[in-house]
Amino acid sequence: MSVQAFRLVCAVDRELLPQVDKAVARIECLECCGHNLYLGTSDGFIHHLLLEERSGAMPGHSTFSASRQLQRQLGTKKPVNELRAASALNRLLVLCDGVISLVHMLNLEPVPSGARIKGAVTFTLNENPLSGDPFCVEVCIVSVKRRTIQLFHVYEDRVQILKEVSTPEQPFAVAIDGYFLCLALTTQYIILNYNTGASQDLFPYSSEEKRPIVKRIGRQEFLLAGPGGLGMFATVAGISQRAPVRWSENVIGATVCFPYVVALDAEFITVHSMLDQQKKQTLPFKDGHILQDFEGRVIVATGNGVYILTPLPLEKQIQDLLSNHRVEEALVLAKGARRNIPKEKFQVMYRRILQQAGFIHFAQLRFPEAKELFRSGRLDVRELISLYPFLLPTSATFTRVHPPLHEYADLNHLTQGDQEKMNQCKRFLMSYLNEIRRTEVANGCKEDIDTALLKLYAEASHENLLDLLGSENSCIMADSATWLEKYKKYFALGLLYHYHGQDAAALQLWAKIVNGELEDNTRPDLFEYIVDFLTFCTNQELVWKYADWILQKNEQVGIHIFTKRPLEEQQKNSFRPNDVISCLHRYPKALLQYLEYVVLDQGLQKEKYHTHLAVLYLEEVLRLKAVVKGNCMELAEVQKKFQHLLQQSDFYRVHLLLDKIKDSDLLLEQAILYGKSEDHEKALNILVWQLKDFSTAEHYCLWNSENKDPIYKQRLFHQLLSVYLHSDRPDESLLTAAVDLLNHHAAEFNAAQVLRQVPDTWSAQLLSQFLVGAMRESVHRKRMSQLTLGLAKAENIIYQYEKLKATESSIVLSDKNLCQVCRDPFLEPAFVRYPNGSLVHTHCAASRHTNPSSTHHLSSPSRRT
């Protein structure tokens, strides 16, 4: 529990002390002012000594020596009760036998005027007087008169009473701050404003049982001895702003030396912290009866010895606490010290303490606490990273601060080789670095952080490794590469290369993994990944370089590097189809896919590709036909694609293909090709005679007449009809087909012509549907033309009427009429009149006519001369 806050140092050698040999004389009181030390003794002497401080080897280890100056006995042999220096007046106030005399500080002579204050039991000086006169001290006495306090102004050699205040009970002790008196009365403590007379009870206290203590400890605040050995704090407003400290029951004197309360009893000097109320230090000290602070220096005395409590520097105390792992106390002390240390210095110190505290928690694996302290102490993360062997890049120039923030060489030392602890530490660092790498804490050491993080991830095979490398990062290339190789993270290494623009190296590595030369199964789908990578790779050379390798591995997936390229690149057409096709000659499947891509997806209208694709389809169909018997899905599919291409495309070389399939049994395809070359008769003959596929024949007529004029369509249908009807061998099914054709497509035929064509034997019944349809069509057409005619006539009449109306009356043109356009008068009889009556020059009308935007209110000009 203890801290060393103070050292007790002897101030005055025994032989220097007055009358050590005479047991009767003892030190009653003392005063210290600068180097001057005054002692008042029980035999009425004042001794003046000079005190010299010599700083020791370490801060806080200073020693003292004293030398005797004058000594003087005041008139009586009565003990000197109290001594107070008023250095501004060069006077010492001495209370002896109920009288306060003024003596010269150096020669100890009483002032010539003999000024004095009589009838004082005890007195105190106001350290915060409101008079504002620097050559005057305010003295407050407890008077021998019952229940009376008196205030005096004391000057160099005169004394003036200022005020007399009577108190509700007999006062025993007094302290003063400004107008406020803090009084220990018989049964309680009170605050009394001597200016207004207002008083405020603090708390009850029995002065008969124990000696009260009233001590001003700072602006407007007092320290009081309370019940149960408490040291209580009270402000002039009568409230307590600090929790009490707990002394022993018989405290004689107490004072504050921030942040500590020092108290004296018969056996000990105790030191409590005002910050957490804990007792921090106990110094054995027998027979002490004086404890006072003089300008921040605490002096204790026995009847025959004077000692000084020298505070150890706060930093030292804090370091002691930290080295005992008492983090909380150290932080409280550091925070409490804030107002005693210049701001800049404090911040540097405090940050360091936070960091040290962080490492203490860290070493105990209390990571949340450690993290918070590292954060608030703005720790240079490299301090932390450097604890982990090999994590800092070899190129890093970092060295730990001196003196070190902790005692550990590295993590092995800290965990004493405990693997589990080590792993916990690593996991902590991972999450910590990940958290801060994008914050301002990382500024200036991003490389070190990211590289360390990469190493941790790699070692732990953590999935975040890929995310790290896949996004913006500052991993140092050389260091990371070695580490990734060490942990066989070749895929990740590839990502690293890629991030640094070394795609060639990345691909080489990945290809090796796929080829089984390196082992890393981070990505089971690495091949597809590479294909994807190349698809989006802007470096054409690389794509060409790996095209063969890719296609050998898998034509169908591999071809994606050409067919799935990003849109913007497709538009640039950086891969010329000719080049690709010549590259693909060894990979038929890929070639086919590529041509499909070029012809069907891209819609390139080049004969070469269309023909090539058609030929490939044909070859595939023929090949499949040769190997499979019966139904085959694959065959059907290819055939369908083939037919589709033949039908849709207008770019392939029809004759070349016709030559190729003339002798095959691909009749439909032949028909399509004949159709393409406008040889519909041949085509229809094939469809009807050889394939006997009438519905396809019908469709043939439809698709071949798509986007063509109706006459063309009619001709096709008539042609089909002729094929049906004019067969050499009469065939029942053909006749039926002919009837169906007529009945279903009545509108496509020229009915008159059909009627001439069909055999006379056919009944009207048979053709009734056709006839009705044809009839309807012709009636419809007739009516439509009548309607059109009628409408046209009506329109014509309307225009005639308008013309008539416009011309029926005459128009008088005078110089009053102005042209509506140019506002000039008419100089010639020719003019233009608009239907709404406005008149304009002919030339104006003409120019206006060419500029339709300005004619919106004049319409359909009618001319008149």
Partner: protein, 233 residues
């Protein structure tokens, strides 16, 4: 720099009722053995823009005299009793209420019955069931009869208001200011402190704004109407 606390909340109550334990529970989220408080202690709690000092006082008779000083200027006083000890409630009125004379004039009050974990809440049910005497059955888990019920606290609250000469209609309602807690289990502890803070903080703003300089006619009209209708009835 530490911010000066701008709100003071004081815990009062007989020794051993669990004031220190309540505060520990609230501040540290833990329950551990305490020693009887000597003098007093306080914690600072940041509550929004306010820094609240919560004073834990000593219940022991010896330190009774310090109470007035601790209460001086308090914005809220939390009276704590032990639900298993009726006398602890009585003491609040007899000994502690007078200490609040020094509190701020618009001080609010809360009354807290602590240690509810000790009492068998279903004791009343059990009573009718089996008429079993309430004795310790299994050592530490023994439940004792609840000696103080919320209604007792509510009526004390009303007497507190009367003592302070506060209008029952203007002071926070009793249902809102009487609590039952257990520092041991943590039951209702956060709720208690947070409710008190939430009640106190809006009052501060009012105080900070001070009484308005201008006369609010609408308000005084209302007040007049109120009194008139009051006397007509």
């Amino acid at each position: 720099m530490l911010k000066k606390p701008d709100v003071k909340v004081v815990l009062l109550g007989d020794m051993n009722v669990g004031k220190t334990s309540l505060l520990h529970r609230y501040v540290e989220k833990k329950f551990h053995e305490t020693v009887s408080t000597v003098g007093g202690a306080f914690y600072l709690k940041q509550w929004g823009p306010h820094s609240i000092s919560i004073w834990d006082t000593a219940g022991r008779e010896q330190f009774h005299g310090l109470g007035s000083m601790y209460c001086r200027g308090a914005a809220a006083v939390i009276f704590v009793y032990d639900v298993s000890n009726f006398q602890s409630l009585v003491e609040l009125e007899d000994r502690f209420l007078a200490l609040t004379d020094t509190a701020s004039t618009d001080c609010i009050f809360a009354i807290v019955g602590n240690k509810v974990d000790l009492t068998d809440e279903c004791a009343s049910v059990n009573e009718t069931e089996g008429e079993k005497p309430c004795h310790a059955t299994t050592g530490s888990t023994a439940k004792v009869r609840k000696q103080v019920h919320v209604e007792d606290a509510v009526s004390l609250y009303k007497r507190v208001l009367k003592y302070k000469m506060l209008d029952e209609k203007e002071a926070p309602p009793a249902e809102k200011m009487c609590f039952e807690t257990s520092a041991k289990s943590g039951f209702s502890v956060d709720f208690l402190f947070e409710s008190v803070f939430d009640t106190v903080v809006p009052l501060l703003k009012k105080k900070a704004n001070g009484p308005s300089e201008t006369v609010d006619l609408t308000d005084s009209n209302k007040a007049m109407k109120g009194t008139r209708s009051g006397c007509c009835k």
